[in-house]
């Protein structure tokens, strides 16, 4: 929801898609999915927080690594 509000704030016109960077979109996706997976698999708030942070950072790390691996193919 927080991500959605942030996107709403950045949306300029109704007919234009929300203007967000690729990195922000990826981060929002990673954050929301990490929280959902943590809520699904862990029991206590502490466990959930640790898992969500770990999962979020792994999402970002893997995305950045894969992005750089694909970089030569885009040129």
């Amino acid at each position: 929801m927080i991500a959605s509000c942030a996107v709403c704030a950045m949306s300029i016109e109704a007919h234009n898609p929300a203007r967000i960077s690729h990195f922000f979109a990826m981060s929002a996706f990673a954050l929301l999915v990490s929280i959902a997976l943590a809520g699904l698999t862990k029991r206590t708030a502490e466990e959930r927080t640790k898992y969500a942070v770990s999962c979020f950072l792994k999402f970002l790390a893997v995305a950045i690594v894969i992005g750089w691996l694909m970089y030569p193919f885009s040129h």
Binding site: P17, A18, V33, L40
Partner: protein
């Protein structure tokens, strides 16, 4: 009044036999009722993300699932992702519809957020499509979780 001890014994045996026969039948009936109830929780979880968990008094999970599914779906709509219609021409579109429809009530409000329709000619629209599909998949996981909790297979 029955004074014959042999008759008493036969009465007891008859009662035990009745209990032994009724026991599994009652258990079966109880299990069936439990399964139907679990299905109701699962349907509730599908229609409104988190409602199944809310009914099962799992407040934390209910809030997490509603926020995450809602956040992913609405972000996807604002990015003008593709919302697949129910009548589609190929298997991938059908799968897309299943994923989108899994968001429950958020699928119904897609038109409110996406008044101009999808625009997948830009990267943002393509991202939006993935956001909406991911919202559906996360809600499907929550539906199965609510079902398992209602059946007592998951203690957490």
């Amino acid at each position: 009044m029955n004074n014959n001890p042999i008759d008493d014994v036969s009465d007891v045996t008859a009662t035990e036999t009745t209990v032994a026969v009724a026991g599994p039948a009652r258990q079966h009936e109880s299990a069936a009722r439990h399964a139907v109830l679990a299905l109701c929780f699962a349907i509730a979880a599908w229609i409104i993300p988190g409602l199944g968990h809310l009914a099962l008094k799992r407040w934390g999970r209910a809030l997490i699932f509603f926020a995450c599914v809602g956040g992913l779906a609405i972000t996807g709509y604002l990015l003008r992702g593709n919302v697949f219609p129910s009548r589609s021409s190929d298997l991938f579109d059908t799968l897309g519809f299943v994923a989108d429809a899994s968001t429950g009530i958020f699928y119904l409000v897609a038109r409110f957020f996406e008044r101009a329709g999808p625009d997948v000619s830009r990267a943002a629209g393509d991202y939006g499509t993935r956001f909406i599909a991911a919202a559906g998949i996360v809600n499907l996981l929550s539906v199965f979780d609510a079902y398992e909790i209602a059946l007592g297979r998951r203690t957490m």
